[in-house]
C-alpha cells in the first residue's frame, strides 16, 4: 500500500466511525430524555456532563483556522507573532462558560429556549429582533461553513490526492449525515471524540517537529535562515493596533458567538459547568497554543515559498516529517477540528430556520399547526439541515483564497450582531427590545462598513462594530426604558 492509500484508509475509518457513533449514541441518549423531540434534537435534552461540555465548547471553537490556516501562517510568514495572537484564546472557554454559563442555563430552563435566538425572543419579546438575528446568523454561519467545508476538502485533497470537488462531497456527506440524523446530541458526542483526537494530534505534531528540527536550538537557527527579521519580532508584520484588536475579536468578543453561547443552555448542573471550565481551559490552551507553536517551529524545516497559500503548509510538513500511519492519525485531528465546527454551525443554522423562523412565524399559536409541527419537527429539521449542507457545498465549489480571513470576517459579524443583545440582556434590566434591535443591526452594519472603509492604526473592524453597538444599546435602552420591562421578562430573566 502506498503512503497516500494508508492515510486515506485511516481517514475513511475515522469519518465512518464518527457517523456511526454520533447517530447511535444520539438515538440511545435521546430515548432516555423526558423532554420534547424539539428539545432533544436542538439542545440534547439539557443533559451534557462536564467533560462533554468542555470538549464540545473547545471543539466548536477550534476550527480550520486553529489547525491548518493559523499554524500554516505562523510557519510560512508570521513566526512567533502568530502564536502570540493564538494565545489570546487561552481564556476563551472559561470566559464564555463563566460569564454566560449559569445565567443562560437558568433563563433557558425558565423560558424553554433551545437556541440563542429563542432566548432573545423570550428576553425582548420582539419579532423584529428574531427575524434580524436569525437572518444575520444564517448568513454569517453560511460564510463560516464555506470556510470549514473548504478547509475540510482542501485537507482531504492535499493528503489523499483526490480531486477537490470529490473531496468536498466526501467531507460534506459525512458531516451532514450525522448532524441531520443525530441532531445536537450527535454533534456533542462527535465533538468529544474530535476533541480527544485534536489533543493527540497536537501532541504528535509537537513531538515530530521538535525531533525533525533538532530541538529548540536547531529550530531557532532554522527560523533565522527561513524567516529572517520576522520570526522573533512581534511588530514585524502586525501593527500594535491590530494585535490589540485580537483581544476583542478572538477574546472578549467570543461572548457574542451564538455557537458557543448555546452550549450554556445544554449542560446538566453547576458541577458540570465547573469541571468544564477546568478541562476546557487546559485542553484549549494545549491545542491552540500547541498547534500554532509547532506550526511556527515547522517554519525552520522548510522554506514554503513554493506553496500556493499557507493553507497547504501543514499537510505539506506532515507528509515530509511523519511516517504514513502516524500522518493518518495526525490528519484526523485537523479533520476533527473542521468537522466539529461545521456540524455545530449546521445544527444552529437549521434551528434558526425551523425553530426561530418557521415555528414563530408560520406555526404561531394555532393548535392544529402546533400539533403538525410537533409531529414533523424531526423530519423537517433533517430536511433543512441537509438543504443547508447542499447550499454550502455549492458555494464552496469555487473556494476563497485564504480560509483564515473568511472565517475571521464571519466571526466578527456574528459577534457584532449578538454581543450586546445577549450579554447586555442577561444583566441589564434597562435593555429594551428597541435597544436590542438597534444595537444588533447597527453593530453588524457598522462592522461591514468599517471592514471595507475604515483603516485606523490597523484596528480590526470588530472593535468599531462592538463599540458602536454598545453605545446604541445603552443609549436607546436608557431612552426607552421609562415604563420598565414586561413583568414576565423580569420574572423569568432576572
Amino acid at each position: 500500500m502506498s503512503s497516500q492509500q494508508i492515510i486515506l484508509v485511516i481517514l475513511i475509518a475515522y469519518l465512518v466511525a464518527n457517523v456511526l457513533i454520533g447517530v447511535l449514541y444520539a438515538k440511545k441518549r435521546d430515548a432516555q430524555s423526558a423532554l420534547s423531540e424539539e428539545k432533544r434534537y436542538f439542545i440534547g435534552g439539557r443533559g451534557m456532563s462536564g467533560f462533554l461540555l468542555a470538549m464540545t465548547t473547545m471543539a466548536t471553537y477550534t476550527s480550520v483556522s486553529s489547525f491548518v490556516s493559523g499554524p500554516g501562517a505562523a510557519g510560512m510568514t508570521y513566526g512567533y507573532a502568530q502564536v502570540w495572537i493564538a494565545a489570546v484564546q487561552v481564556p476563551v472557554t472559561f470566559l464564555v462558560l463563566g460569564v454566560l454559563g449559569n445565567k443562560l442555563a437558568l433563563v433557558s430552563r425558565r423560558t424553554g429556549a433551545v437556541t440563542v435566538v429563542g432566548y432573545l425572543k423570550a428576553r425582548y419579546k420582539s419579532d423584529a429582533l428574531v427575524i434580524a438575528t436569525s437572518l444575520l446568523l444564517v448568513s454569517f454561519f453560511i460564510a463560516q461553513m464555506i470556510a470549514q467545508f473548504t478547509g475540510g476538502a482542501t485537507l482531504v485533497q492535499s493528503v489523499t490526492g483526490i480531486d477537490y470537488k470529490l473531496s468536498l462531497l466526501i467531507f460534506a456527506l459525512v458531516v451532514v449525515a450525522y448532524t441531520a440524523v443525530g441532531g445536537f446530541t450527535a454533534v456533542v458526542v462527535t465533538d468529544a471524540i474530535q476533541g480527544i483526537v485534536m489533543c493527540v494530534g497536537t501532541f504528535l505534531f509537537l513531538l515530530f517537529v521538535l525531533k525533525a528540527g533538532g530541538g529548540l536550538a536547531g529550530i531557532d537557527a532554522g527560523l533565522q535562515a527561513n524567516l529572517p527579521g520576522t520570526y522573533s519580532d512581534l511588530f514585524a508584520k502586525y501593527k500594535p493596533g491590530t494585535l490589540l484588536s485580537f483581544w476583542i475579536l478572538v477574546g472578549f468578543g467570543t461572548l457574542g458567538l451564538p455557537q458557543t453561547a448555546v452550549r450554556a443552555m445544554g449542560f446538566k448542573n453547576t458541577k458540570s459547568l465547573h469541571s468544564a471550565m477546568w478541562i476546557g481551559a487546559i485542553c484549549c490552551s494545549f491545542v491552540i497554543v500547541g498547534m500554532h507553536l509547532a506550526g511556527a517551529w515547522a517554519g525552520a524545516l522548510v522554506d514554503g515559498a513554493e506553496l500556493p497559500t499557507s493553507d497547504y503548509f501543514i499537510p505539506y510538513i506532515v507528509h515530509k516529517i511523519m511516517p504514513p500511519r502516524i500522518a493518518g492519525i495526525f490528519l484526523a485531528a485537523p479533520m476533527a477540528a473542521v468537522m466539529s465546527t461545521a456540524d455545530s454551525l449546521l445544527i444552529l443554522a437549521s434551528a434558526a430556520i425551523v425553530r426561530d423562523l418557521w415555528k414563530e412565524f408560520v406555526v404561531r399559536n394555532d393548535p392544529e399547526k402546533i400539533k403538525k409541527y410537533e409531529k414533523n419537527v424531526g423530519l423537517a429539521s433533517i430536511f433543512v439541515t441537509t438543504m443547508l449542507g447542499l447550499v454550502t457545498v455549492f458555494l464552496a465549489l469555487d473556494p476563497p483564497n485564504i480560509i483564515f480571513f473568511l472565517n475571521l470576517f464571519a466571526m466578527g459579524g456574528l459577534e457584532c450582531s449578538f454581543f450586546w443583545p445577549l450579554v447586555g440582556g442577561l444583566f441589564w434590566k434597562k435593555g429594551t427590545k428597541q435597544a436590542a434591535v438597534a444595537s444588533s443591526i447597527g453593530a453588524a452594519a457598522s462592522y461591514v462598513l468599517c471592514y471595507y472603509f475604515v483603516k485606523v492604526a490597523g484596528i480590526n473592524a470588530v472593535v468599531w462594530g462592538l463599540l458602536i453597538g454598545g453605545i446604541i444599546y445603552f443609549a436607546v435602552g436608557q431612552a426607552t426604558s421609562k415604563n420598565g420591562l414586561d413583568p414576565d421578562v423580569l420574572e423569568k430573566c432576572f
Binding site: Y80, F94, G98, R110, S232, F235, W247, N269, T270, F427
Partner: protein, 92 residues
C-alpha cells in the same frame, strides 16, 4: 448542592461574571504588557524570544491559577431544581 432563591441565584451569577471578567482582564494585561515591553530586547527564555515565552506561558499559568481561585472562592454549587420543574411542567 446549595438551595438558593431566585434572587440569590441572580446575585451569585453576577458575582461569577465579575470574577471571571477580572481573571480574564489580568490574563489580557499580562499577555500584552510583557510582550510589548520585552519585544526588541533580544532576550531569550527557554530557547525562544523572551517577549513570546514569558507572555504566552505566563498567560496560561495565570489563567489556570485564576480558575483555581474562582472555583475555591467565587463559584458555588447550587441546584436547578425549580427551573427544571418549571420546564417539565410547561411541557406537560
Amino acid at each position: 448542592m446549595k438551595k438558593m432563591t431566585k434572587e440569590q441565584k441572580h446575585e451569585q451569577c453576577v458575582r461569577e461574571i465579575r470574577g471571571t471578567l477580572i481573571v480574564t482582564a489580568i490574563c489580557c494585561a499580562w499577555h500584552v504588557i510583557t510582550a510589548f515591553a520585552l519585544n526588541g530586547t533580544g532576550l531569550y527564555f527557554i530557547g525562544m524570544p523572551a517577549w513570546f515565552s514569558v507572555s504566552v506561558f505566563g498567560t496560561i499559568i495565570i489563567a489556570l491559577l485564576g480558575i483555581w481561585y474562582l472555583m475555591k472562592k467565587v463559584f458555588v454549587d447550587f441546584d436547578y431544581d425549580d427551573e427544571d420543574a418549571c420546564e417539565r411542567g410547561e411541557e406537560a
